[in-house]
Symmetry: C2
Subunit: 246 residues, 2 copies
């Protein structure tokens, strides 16, 4: 595990919902979160996609909270019976949970007293001590409990919530990347030389991603590191590698 | 946990690759696997997206192999230095691993002797006792080790491999679904009645999925169960619920 490398700030992502495991829904939130966190200097180390099961949700939150600097959950904070994430966050940290006036105020921006029935009021149940996260799309808030950010599952709402939290995140070294794409060569042609480059730069993640698009095969090489000078050197070596094979 | 419900056959999915965690690549393999397994009577219970880290891969395979009836890994079986999944499968089961003649034969269908360099020959390294899985796209095979199926990460290749394995999977009760979609109503309007329906059918997973498309909001309710007669009853109740709200 490289979770605790010096200077590296880590995140774990927990995507909650039966619909993601049944094939009903294609998740896109993980990619959105990774693209949001990278520029803040936070690296996603692992993601889990789990069912709407209270024990699984609680245990995963608890484990991830210890293991990573930040944790992001998506899904399960709506008004229906299968929305159990808030209770699971409270259980994970042995906290109470109750309807909160600040969360109700947010809901009142959207709903009339008549619309604010008991189901919708459930969305104002927040673990004790949690700090709300504004929802600019449909008002029902997310919340932050210690290092765990609990966000909506609907992609547009999750993206809206992310706009309100960058100042709460203290990132570390920002990891940059350089990529070199070559058409018409196979991974296997480049592999030996690529392994030499990877060995020469042990702290750098160097990946090789083949593609087959509309009959054209090729490879993209991607190097990732916090050290941009090193990345520039690697990019030149990768470019030379590709030129020698073409 | 509901992993061991009577008649239910379960799967865990392990998606391997730094590129899925950095935001470089959008995974689609989980949805493909869920859609492939559902009709065979296998339910995906959890998925993990993990980095190209040998210990993490090994430990996750080992844990999932005990916990689920079937396990599917994707990614990390190509010719380059970051392709370490085969070694991790071997390590997870304390098996040897070596270049295998049956796997080399597959590679020879594609590569000349000259092209079959040492990097490409790595793709013929298979854990002892594993059964190959044909790759109709680029020949480098996947393989099955006990209850673990090791597949390619490139979506087109993974889909090709899946065509060759249905006969190796012994599914259980097939889970069916019924859905009712209603535009113009909110989840919160339906929640109380929906919870009553869910309570009346404790063995059935009933989910509620709001959407906001091009200014139109609505909800899709989805019921999932092995019992189609029960699903038909629930579908009628959900339709009544929606009619009463419209």
């Amino acid at each position: 595990m490289t979770d605790n490398q010096a200077g590296i700030v880590t995140a774990g992502v927990i995507l909650i919902g039966d619909e993601l495991l049944s094939g009903l829904t294609q998740d896109t939130n993980l990619k959105t979160l990774a693209e949001f966190l990278g520029p803040l200097g936070v690296q996603v180390r692992e993601a889990r996609i789990i069912a709407d099961d209270a024990h699984t949700i609680r245990d995963t939150i608890r484990a991830f909270s210890h293991r990573f600097d930040y944790v992001f959950t998506t899904g399960g904070i709506g008004p229906t019976h299968d929305d159990i994430t808030a209770d699971c966050v409270a259980a994970a940290f042995d906290l109470g949970i109750s309807e909160r006036e600040d969360a109700l105020s947010e809901l009142r921006r959207r709903y009339t007293d008549n619309e604010l029935n008991s189901a919708r009021r459930r969305m104002a149940r927040i673990p004790d001590g949690a700090v709300l996260i504004r929802n600019p799309v449909s008002q029902a808030p997310g919340f932050q409990t210690k290092n765990v950010f609990t966000l909506a599952g609907v992609p547009r709402i999750m993206r809206g919530m992310l706009e309100h939290i960058p100042h709460r995140i203290r990132g570390g070294a920002q990891v940059h990347s350089r990529s070199v794409t070559a058409e018409g060569i196979g991974e296997g042609d480049a592999a030996a030389h690529l392994a030499e480059i990877a060995r020469a730069y042990p702290g750098v993640s160097i990946g090789s991603y083949p593609f087959f698009n509309a009959g054209i095969r090729g490879v993209t090489f991607v190097a990732r590191s916090a050290d941009e000078a090193v990345l520039d050197r690697i990019q030149r070596e990768l470019t030379d590698l590709v030129d020698n094979l073409s």
